[in-house]
């Protein structure tokens, strides 16, 4: 066929294209500097050199929530501390490319690496970074079995707990003694497993049962499709809980389309600033804000402190006895009808 002949004749060009794709394509690592400045380090005991570079690595690295909240904060942290901060990682959910990016970045010996701990399989790569004496921390989602120096972020179990508490309170407010809820999430993501566990544990004995856990792949259109099917499959459903940033938008879309918005208890994660309006409109009962700016900023700061702290613990080597906290819970904010006006005002 003509297309195959073309392939054969232009195999070298195709190979070059493949290499180009592997350098910048959607399933492969992207890398972009986001912060570089020469201002003196804020609150640091030692001035940073301008060539000091920290790398933030995640899969799905251009997720709208990351772009809106994490990337600007990385830039700010770089500016405040007088160091360079770079973003890396595949722009899609691609664990193999994610692992490969961590390995390659650490091989280049940056001043520090922040890994978003999506999956336990990343632990081996994090351990390799530590073995190479590259300070490595996790943020947003943890890898507790790795040798990472610190985890900075929200306790995802608590996200499940808080969503569960809102489900229980809203059920009571509606005068019901029992209910059925469905969850939507990226089903295999480790942090979301923790959130679902917190949700399950909180709902025990509350009269609310979880009828199913569905996978929306982190896409709002998939969440809408799953929600529409769930409405048909479970006519006696009383609530939905969404654990990735796109779940909530999808749930609301499907409920709107079915003419049932406001008739369910819906708890979700923050997405866009506009999404908070759904609480005001009564379509969503509670939205979790993760304090992303806090944990992102402090992830850079923690690495910076590890490199620049002038003390040790009882004179011990800092690689054996770290000079930064092993766990930093940055907490969360639950947005409900009680405080949504305040949040909406802050978005303007």
């Amino acid at each position: 066929m003509w297309s195959r002949n073309g392939f054969g004749r232009f195999l070298p060009l195709a190979a070059v294209t493949m290499l180009a794709v592997s350098a910048c394509g959607s399933s492969t690592p992207s890398t972009a500097p986001v912060g570089s400045a020469s201002a003196p380090g804020a609150g640091a005991s030692q001035a940073a050199t301008s060539n000091e570079e920290y790398v933030w690595i995640s899969q799905n690295s251009t997720l709208p929530l990351f772009v809106a909240r994490d990337h600007p904060t990385l830039m700010l942290a770089g500016k405040d501390l007088g160091v360079k901060v770079r973003i890396a990682g595949p722009t899609t959910i691609d664990l193999a490319a994610f692992i490969s990016t961590i390995d390659q970045e650490c091989a280049a010996h940056p001043a520090g690496v922040i890994v978003v701990g999506w999956d336990p399989s990343l632990s081996a790569s994090v351990d390799k970074c530590i073995d190479q004496k590259v300070p490595t921390v996790t943020d947003d989602a943890d890898l507790p079995n790795s040798e990472r120096l610190s985890f900075i972020g929200t306790d995802w179990y608590q996200i499940g707990v808080q969503q569960g508490l809102v489900q229980i309170a809203d059920l009571k407010a509606r005068g019901l003694t029992s209910g059925k809820v469905a969850t939507l999430s990226i089903i295999n993501a480790d942090n979301m497993k923790a959130a679902r566990q917190g949700f399950v544990d909180t709902l025990k004995g509350s009269g609310i049962t979880i009828v199913t856990d569905e996978d929306d792949g982190g896409a709002s259109d998939q969440a809408a499709t799953k929600t529409a099917a769930l409405l048909a499959a479970y006519p006696d459903l009383t609530g939905f809980a969404g654990f990735d940033s796109e779940s909530g938008a999808g749930i609301v879309t499907a409920l709107d389309e079915a003419g049932k918005a406001g008739k369910f208890t819906v708890t979700a994660m923050e997405q866009s600033p506009e999404f908070f309006k759904t609480v005001k409109e009564g379509k969503v009962t509670g939205i979790v804000i993760q304090k992303r700016e806090l944990f992102t900023y402090y992830a850079v700061k923690m690495l910076y402190d590890f490199n620049h702290n002038s003390f040790t613990i009882a004179g011990l080597d800092k690689w054996g006895t770290s000079t930064i906290p092993r766990f930093l819970d940055t907490g969360l904010v639950m947005v409900t009808k009680d405080n949504v006006d305040q949040v909406l005002a802050a978005q303007k």
């Binding site: 003509w2 493949m18 910048c24 799905n60 089903i187 982190g218 866009s272 999404f275």
Partner: protein
């Protein structure tokens, strides 16, 4: 009286069951139709209060709308012996373009939507030129351009466009006979596409190109031009799917269409198209999309655990594709 020897050489008259099996084996669309009717009937009997409801059927058809639009373009391309892996990127870029024009530039919604489709067509044109002029294999070319299209999307709008506007969302959320507009648009596209592929000379040329490109060239068909327009057609449909999705959600999402190319190619092949080219029908592709959507819906209605759903869908697809192969061997 017929002797034993004579009996042995007489052609056997196939029984009705065997004849039905052969007919199903010969026509993938017919097989899919039987499977869709069978699955729907079984689900209606097993879950009479849940499955055959207006809301559920509406949800299934709405779910199938996006892939239904895309499968028309993909079928045409696959008949011609090529396919397009960039449709997810085109879909996202078109939605973002329309959303930005409507929200940030104040362009009237209908014009913004048409501009989104035009962006999709331009992406298709770029794909077509790379494949036909540079003679780069379609797989490699579109694998490269999907990264480019997604990169452009994120450069223009890193976080997407939310709350685009009431006049914009009116197109994707309009309701007619209980079904939302994306379904009706899909129906029009499928009917027009089916008519074009079976009746219009230009579209019939894809069969010749995909069957034997050299013979097609010798018979006077301008193969590069046909394929170039095939890619433009695919791009325009991806653009249409993108703007409809943005309008339905009232938000253009930069991650829209992630993975859609594989599900559309799966549905197209399931519907009878060949990866070698020269075979396939638009109706077959649509039935493939509906069958997959129906299986996914049936699994949720049947309360199948999410971890089993992927396995079941995979097995069902393999069985569906194997039936006509087995029937073919039996002939």
């Amino acid at each position: 009286m017929v002797s034993e020897t004579t009996k042995a050489v007489l052609p056997r008259r196939p029984n009705p069951v065997s004849r039905a099996g052969t007919a199903l084996g010969r026509s993938r669309p017919l097989l899919l139709l039987v499977l869709i009717v069978g699955l729907s009937t079984a689900m209606s009997i097993a879950f009479p209060a849940l499955f055959p409801t207006r809301a559920n059927i509406s949800a299934v058809l709405l779910n199938a709308a996006q892939a239904g639009i895309l499968v028309v373009g993909m079928t045409v391309l696959m008949i011609g012996g090529a396919f397009d892996l960039s449709i997810g990127g085109v879909l996202a870029l078109s939605g973002i373009a329309a959303g930005l024009l409507a929200k940030d530039s104040g362009v009237p919604a209908p014009i913004a939507l048409l501009a989104g489709v035009a962006v999709g067509s331009l992406c298709g044109l770029a794909n077509g030129l790379i494949v036909t002029k540079l003679r780069i294999n379609a797989l490699i070319a579109t694998l490269a351009t999907v990264g480019i299209f997604r990169g452009i999307t994120q450069l223009f709008s890193g976080t997407g466009v939310n709350e685009i506007g009431d006049s914009f969302k009116a197109f994707g959320q309009a309701d007619f006979l209980g079904l939302q507009s994306p379904f009706w648009v899909m129906l029009v596209v499928v009917l027009a596409g089916s008519f074009a592929v079976s009746r219009i000379r230009f579209f019939r040329q894809f069969y010749y190109v995909g069957g034997n490109a050299r013979a097609a060239t010798l018979s006077g068909i301008n193969v590069p031009r046909v394929m170039l327009l095939g890619f433009v057609f695919m791009g325009a449909l991806a653009g249409l799917a993108g703007v409809l999705s943005a309008s339905r959600l009232n938000a253009a999402v930069v991650t829209a269409g992630t993975g859609v190319e594989l599900s559309v190619i799966t549905a197209t092949v399931l519907g009878g198209a060949s990866l070698q080219g020269g075979e396939g029908t638009v109706i077959g592709g649509l039935l493939g999309v509906v069958f997959i959507a129906l299986v996914q819906n049936a699994l949720i209605i049947s309360h199948v655990n999410v971890f089993w759903q992927g396995i079941v869908v995979g097995v069902v697809l393999l069985v569906a594709v194997s039936v006509d192969l087995l029937a073919g061997r039996g002939r």
